[in-house]
Subunit: 224 residues, 6 copies
């Protein structure tokens, strides 16, 4: 009888109920499936709202996420919403690494360029992002945060790329950003196209988070 | 028939179920009842935990607070827990000013001295406080945060004063604080005694928050 | 014989000799006279310049303010010039709270929005404001400071509102401010109109200072 | 004939001539060899000094590193000296990702705890580290930097662990660090032991850098 | 007939009436008289207080300084009190460069080491210094500010050196300063002795200011 | 036999091989030759590249600079390239003060105005400048950095002035700079003309560095 290596399982939780967003996001994770060493699975939360746009949406999904983590055994968890909802609770209830996609995007971006710009979905989330960036001590690396002001619903459509590129150009040319962060989990499949048009790296937070999670698992770290 | 002035009602929500903490905290608000212009009422949340010590406790009370605000009409609300739990949600669901006691304590303290020290209950809340202070952009005013490491349960007992004074002395003498913040809602009745022993101002966050709320109501502001 | 409650007296010192400015400013304080608990009185300094525009004007009024405080007994003093002239001296010569309107405006604004903009009268005061904001450790909350470049003389005229709104719109739309500070004591009567046109809160520093002073008196604090 | 997947090659350059350091460092990278997807190879530079302690040592190895990168084809390069010597040049001469171990350690540490401490070899490198941390905009996350003041020569000996633990305890208890960085490439094999004794995560910069490099390669990013 | 070069005159104003302090301070400026290109003269203000210890002292000398500058023609002025009293006014009334010794000491110190420590005379001036350092944007370079708590009167006596060295040692060993600033104009003659005992550079603010003034005059700059 | 005063020698090393740049730069140092107390000599490095534009150029000249310093005896050295190449090495190999022109320009500019703007030659050096400004802790004083995007070759031509003035106007009017830094050693002869057109002080880094070096020599300081 042999002991077989079992690839650790990383569970990526899209904390809304949109299967489309989950599928699109998961597709962008294929780049990370190159190695057989990790199993990366993405799920939606069927009882969650279709999109996380308000603070009420955030608070609604926080206990759902905690419950999912407590009942769906994995070796690490990724919270795939750019608000990193319930990250503190998830870390408290789990003895496995839990990673937020926003914080991961910030770390990745600061390692890729000297000033990062955030492309937000809605104007109203900008102050929340700014508070988060400040709380991480990264304010001096932020070029600016600009919104495309489209709803989450429209994000899977290709039409959104034009608007993202337009806002990204402002971040690059007016604000001095030389790396961009997509402020939402469901836009990673547009990454290459946006990079091609703007000529600077674009961070998909879900990709950044899963990549970081692999690193944490490999090295045996628990983020806090 | 005359139009009578009706004093605006400020509802102070202690988001735990400890009537003792609420009573003690409310007593410290008497200094603010001098004027007849505002009615200040303090309540507990009967279904909440006895104390807010973990992130799970915080998440448990967030929807309770929102419900209370939506059903208990007042002109302004104060969230009387030093984690400011559910502040963002409360502001979203209410069209009245909602004020957190932690943020209010920080504003008050920065106006009283050049470096403030925080007296926390537990070591494990220090990183959370630090993130909050940073998110407000006030890190350069923070001297240090030190914990007395006593449970919320023991806070109403007088014995806790000695420990607070001991930690406050470290913040003053080792860390250069010239104003202190009590990192909990239930210690305001000790304020004068601590001030007398240490010779520097001590901020009770509940007092600071209600005082600030009166200012906001008087001038017609909505904090965001 | 009964002991009667005597409402504490707050003396608001407009440190110039313009009765018009004092009257206009005092009118904006009516919102704070709701309660009978405090008497709020505004005075000019008859020997002071008509407006405080130069550093020489500031230095001229500093000893006048100190003398006024030493001879005109009150329970607290507000220095109603956006340079907070002589604040350090006033605090040294008085054993009562002395409050500056600029510092109070900054605390109020940081509690109302995530980035504040300053509407200055003159370009040349911008570096002074910036030094002050930095000295308070609040630089990360400042969106920008823009001047209307009109003299103090013209501030009472309604025509100035248009210019303030124009500059306020730049602060909001180009610099990301979501709360504005009027960088002068004599513009509070325009506050509501400016707020209506711009849709974000506007801080009159004199109102903010008196409100803060009431809080300090009520809670027994001495700012330093 | 089939196209076979060829695992990308990551070349870890220890820019001194000590085979012992390279071997020890390489051993600590075994944790990252779990997956077959990447080949991780460590080399020394035979013509380089035995240790990088002075600025002259740094400047001596900079062109050697560039030459190595230009002649030793790989898919990514890691510079395994905590001074990140020649990082800018290496990036200029190569069209492959080049990663420094110091910058990687800082990103990793800021994602693991709220304040990181650096355990330096020598006092004299502390100002250089501080300048680097500041240049990355991470100063607010630095607890302190303390040196064990032992030469690079002695680092492979086990006796050094005691001294590291002693300094790490000061960083944890006096300076508030809750994550530590080993300020040298050759100490990773002690990581687990130090973590066990101190109870907080310890970052080996070489591990952090290779892990980050895998992430960059997988996602197709070029750091700048 | 020849046009003769007339060495520009730098007037160093010790804004107190102590001839002893002026003489001692002036002696420390001899190092700067090496060149015949500038005449450096130091004066006291006979009507000023014997020492500048309180804010009232500061405000008393501000108009005296302005008057001196307006009546005592020179090519540049140095304000030789570590509070830089009346610097803004002096610059407004003069069309010649006016330089403060505190700001000059900060610039000099930040160019000599990575963290500077301030040796203050009195505890109560520390918050004022801190506000000034912050207003200059130099807070991240400040190690700490510690007071010897001796009056200005005793500063000329040699006995004070021991106390300065003791405090300097704390700044160096506990706070990480590698350059020190003497927080007073009358201690420059002890500089070499203090440097010898502590092994790190010590900045006499009067020397730093005159040196900087020479640079400004030579290059034709007006500080603002 | 008499001991004669020998004026200390300051060697200004233009670390490229362009005699034109050296001559132009040296001409701008004539303002500093007023006094007979110091001999200021400028040299090129004949074996160096004609201009320092790439990181490879920087690394090429670093050992050349060190060799020059070790073989060309002087009392102080100035590195006349805005990248301050090899400053750390030069300080290590010399027991005389070594001064970089970039750091000197930053200190000078922060003493002249409240926000400084940098006029860079090329866009690609902006991130490097930003890292440097951050590493000095001066980020809050930086208005912006904008490039004229002309090669070093064209800098001696007068035509470049127009472009510098254009970029300087943007820094002044859009970014709020009230002092400018010329981000290259060979533009000092245009200083007066640029100042005249823009009305704000312009810092030639070579002038700033030599002036600072004179101060360091006079007062006996070694920068580190």
């Amino acid at each position: 009888m042999s002991t077989e290596y079992v690839a650790p399982r990383i569970l990526v939780i899209n904390p809304n109920s949109s299967e489309t967003v989950t599928r699109v996001m998961d597709g962008a994770l294929d780049m990370l499936r190159l190695s057989v060493a990790y199993r990366i699975e993405s799920i939606s939360l069927p009882d969650a709202p279709a999109g996380i746009e308000t603070q009420a949406d955030i608070e609604t999904v926080v206990p759902m996420i905690a419950r999912e983590i407590q009942t769906n055994a994995a070796d690490a968890y990724v919270l795939a919403c750019f608000s990193d909802p319930g990250l503190a609770l998830a870390r408290e209830v789990s003895d496995k690494p839990v990673v937020g996609i926003a914080e991961s995007a910030y770390w990745m971006a600061t390692g890729l360029g000297h000033k990062f710009g955030i492309i937000s979905i809605l104007d109203k989330s900008i102050p929340r992002h700014l508070r988060y960036v400040r709380s991480l001590g990264l304010e001096s690396r932020l070029a600016n945060d600009r919104a495309i002001n489209s709803g989450v619903a429209g994000l899977a459509d290709h039409g959104v790329v034009e608007r993202i590129v337009e806002v990204g150009r402002q971040l690059r040319d007016l604000d001095g950003a030389n790396v961009l962060i997509l402020g939402c989990a469901g836009m990673g499949h547009f990454r290459k196209e946006i990079e091609a048009q703007l000529g600077i790296p674009v961070v998909d937070p879900a990709q950044a988070a899963v990549s970081r999670t692999i690193g944490l698992l490999t090295l045996g770290y628990m983020p806090q």
